[in-house]
């Protein structure tokens, strides 16, 4: 995977050449796994205990009762709420329960004795414990999923878990909590979309569908003034959140944050905020004010998301496919070129050298000998063009010097300052495919600078050692315009795209950045 980013400021070469994957990162990884494991165990335990306590201790969950005259059939063993002393077998005289569940009063009779039980102070506590329990259980479950590497299911599990928690919270008489949970379950897929740009269209459509149904149900209930309107308010809140999140994250942030397929550049954070914040505020405001017109707009916006995503995904897929095809072609071409250059060197050039030596012994063949020399020079030129022999015989650093030498013209000065820490002994150089890839990247970058950027100076700076290669090609041309790069890549001038592909093929990092002051292509590889 290529890790490209836009660099506003050119970092110093020392920063640039830091060791890419130090040992401490491995340790951090192990620590993270450990922390995740601890979280999983702790959260699952805490969540389980909290859920059991609150459910078991809650009046409605612990006692089976109905209207006056019925008998209390069963009381929860914990009997928290029934500290007044209700037992199974008591007859219910009256049950007063107000809108706020913390306010109930139960009067029962047993063996002629009258019992009055009211909500205890900790009823409220119980209601807060339940969401905590559910959240903790969910967190634990998610941690387990992440720990086992099932990342793609984590968001779906969170969404489903939160949805399942809604009825429990409603039963516990916690409408605020259930609204929050609903909102959370709506946000989970939105976050998922943001993290997984290649989310299947079907999943995207399904998620959008849930949001639409929620909004539609709310609208019907409101317009028809149904009694179901009240609980629908909660659903509306969730739908509004869902819509806002999906629209903002799915349709604005994700496409903006994705790498540009040709240059790998991402927009600056400020650009994204400039678009996302006003869009989010507008949509959110419309949703919260509950205007039918606002809902209609939200509706349309949500409908537009899958379409946008589909278009975007299809485009990304096309790019990917083209990449794969190009890559195969690139490799085949390189193999072919190397083979041809080898053949030219091994057969005709050697034969010519031998023949020239023999012909030289004949004074009358002087003109012919010179002709053959010219032919040999031409063949040398072709072989060098196909694959610079310096690269194979001497290594990357001399090859980059050779590149600078041959690319320099009266108009463009190409200079190379490459520190060579290699040796010609076996194992003293980076792998051949790395040398070739970096050389071709440099060649492409220099060609771009000379051809398109109208640069006067091109500088190759870097270092080559057996396990590490770093190279930066900078020019003082008119810089790289993203739109231009895109257009160029569409027309088949895949300079930047091919740089990226070559870097990907050897698992090197590449930075391509441009400003009006010039372009900089930096590539970094480490064993």
């Amino acid at each position: 995977m290529s890790r490209a980013r836009v660099l506003a400021v050119e970092p110093s070469l020392d920063d640039e050449w830091g060791i890419p994957y130090p040992a401490w990162r491995g340790r951090i990884h192990a620590l993270r796994r450990l922390a995740l494991g601890v979280v999983a165990v702790a959260a699952l335990m805490a969540g389980g205990v909290a859920t059991v306590i609150s459910l078991v201790g809650h009046a409605d969950a612990g006692v089976t009762l109905s209207s006056a005259g019925d008998r209390v059939l069963w009381v929860s063993p914990a009997g928290f709420a029934w500290h007044g002393g209700v037992r199974a077998g008591q007859t219910v005289i009256s049950l007063e329960s107000s809108e706020t569940p913390a306010d109930w009063r139960l009067i029962t009779v047993r063996d002629g004795e009258r019992y009055e039980t009211t909500a205890a102070g900790y009823e409220d506590v119980l209601r807060t414990v339940l969401p905590f329990g559910i959240a903790a259980t969910l967190m634990g479950g998610l941690a387990v999923l992440l720990l086992r590497g099932h990342r793609r299911w984590a968001s779906a599990a969170a969404c489903l878990g939160l949805l399942l928690a809604v009825p429990a919270l409603e039963t516990a008489g916690n409408p605020g909590g259930s609204t929050l949970t609903l909102g959370g379950s709506a946000l989970a897929p939105a976050i998922w979309i943001a993290w997984r740009p290649r989310l299947p269209i079907a999943a995207s459509a399904a998620l959008t569908g849930i949001g639409i149904i929620a909004i539609a149900a709310w609208a019907v209930a409101r317009l028809g003034a149904l009694p179901a309107y009240q609980p629908m308010e909660g659903a509306r809140g969730a739908a509004a959140l869902f819509g806002t999140a999906v629209v903002v994250i799915g349709s604005v942030v994700v496409p903006l944050f994705r790498e540009h397929p040709a240059t790998g550049n991402r927009p600056r954070i400020g650009e994204v905020l400039l678009v996302a914040v006003p869009a989010g505020v507008a949509i959110g405001f419309l949703a919260v004010t509950s205007q039918p017109a606002a809902i209609a707009i939200l509706f349309a916006a949500i409908l537009a998301v899958p379409a946008w995503r589909r278009w975007f995904a299809a485009r990304a897929e096309r790019t990917l496919l083209a990449d794969v095809r190009d890559h195969a072609r690139l490799e085949a071409t390189e193999t072919e070129r190397a083979h041809l250059a080898r053949e030219l060197h091994d057969v005709p050039l050697q034969e010519l050298a031998g023949v020239i030596r023999r012909l030289e012994l004949l004074p009358e063949a002087r003109a012919e000998t010179d002709q053959l020399r010219a032919v040999a020079a031409q063949l040398r030129g072709v072989a060098t063009e196909l694959r610079p022999p310096v690269l194979d015989d001497l290594g990357l650093a001399p090859a980059l010097e050779f590149l600078a030498e041959t690319a320099s013209t009266d108009l463009v000065a190409v200079t190379a300052e490459v520190e060579d820490r290699t040796s010609l002994e076996p194992g003293g150089r980076p792998p051949a495919e790395v040398e070739l890839a970096v050389f071709r990247i440099a060649q492409e970058a220099v060609a771009n600078a000379c051809r398109h950027a109208q640069a006067n100076n091109v500088r190759l700076r870097g270092e080559v050692s057996p396990g590490r290669v770093a190279l930066a090609v900078t020019d003082d041309g008119r810089g790289l315009d993203e739109a231009e790069a895109r257009a160029a890549s569409r027309r088949g001038r895949l300079g930047l795209a091919s740089i990226r592909r070559r870097a990907e093929a050897i698992d090197a990092e590449v930075d391509i950045s441009g400003s009006p002051a010039g372009t900089r292509v930096a590539v970094r590889w480490a064993r």
């Binding site: 050298a353 030596r357 023999r358 053959l372 015989d393 001497l394 090859a399 010097e401 010609l424 002994e425």
Partner: protein, 205 residues
């Protein structure tokens, strides 16, 4: 006494042609041949050879690598022969202690001249090759050239300092910088290399 020549090349047509051409020269005698790095190792260690002409690309390795490996130990002067001539090849040949560099298709006169010069203890790099090939590594600053010129003239550090109207410390600094850059340990060694590789003929930077 004729000049005894060894040829390292894996291509029979090249070896045959070169050997025939050189044998025909008065005072030259091709006495040894090698077609691989392995054989060349033996050839370089042997006594009695005057000059070895060595190819870069051999079936089991790189002739320049062999030069680098045997730089301190070989007893024979080497001229690199190659199908390609770029400044980088010449620079590598100089760096690894070869005495000359000749293109395989170069006119025979050039080859003969190179062998003669090398056989008599000289260097067969042309001024052009040195100028191009050593431009990067051996490009001295004007001050360094002044110091080097006086070192070659046998002056002491004090004399150099007086001549250049500078302090003895500065001269010492210049010299130790040159020692470090070219990996030499003494002014004698520096002078020998500078002479052999004609550093002062290379344009200053």
């Amino acid at each position: 006494m004729s000049i005894r020549i060894g040829i390292v090349d894996d291509h029979p047509v090249v070896v045959g042609g070169l050997a025939a051409a050189l044998d025909a020269v008065d005072g030259f005698e091709v006495v040894d041949r090698a077609g691989s790095i392995r054989e060349a190792e033996g050839l370089l260690a042997r006594d009695g050879l005057g000059v070895v002409l060595m190819d870069v690309r051999l079936p089991d390795g790189n002739g320049l690598e062999l030069l680098a490996r045997t730089e301190g130990s070989r007893r024979v002067a080497v001229i690199v022969i190659s199908s390609f001539e770029t400044t980088q090849y010449v620079a590598a040949a100089v760096r690894f202690g070869a005495q000359g560099f000749v293109l395989k298709t170069a006119p025979l006169d050039e080859v003969v001249e190179a062998v003669r010069r090398v056989a008599t203890g000289g260097s067969a790099f042309s001024a052009g090759q040195l100028r191009e090939g050593l431009r990067g590594p051996i490009r001295l600053r004007p001050r360094e050239r002044d110091v080097l010129r006086r070192v070659l003239a046998g002056q002491s550090n004090d004399e150099i300092a007086a001549g250049l109207r500078t302090s003895r410390k500065t001269v010492e600094k210049n010299l130790s910088e040159l020692f470090r850059r070219f990996g030499v340990a003494s002014r004698l060694e520096l002078g020998l290399r500078a002479e052999r590789e004609a550093w002062l003929e290379i344009e200053p930077r």
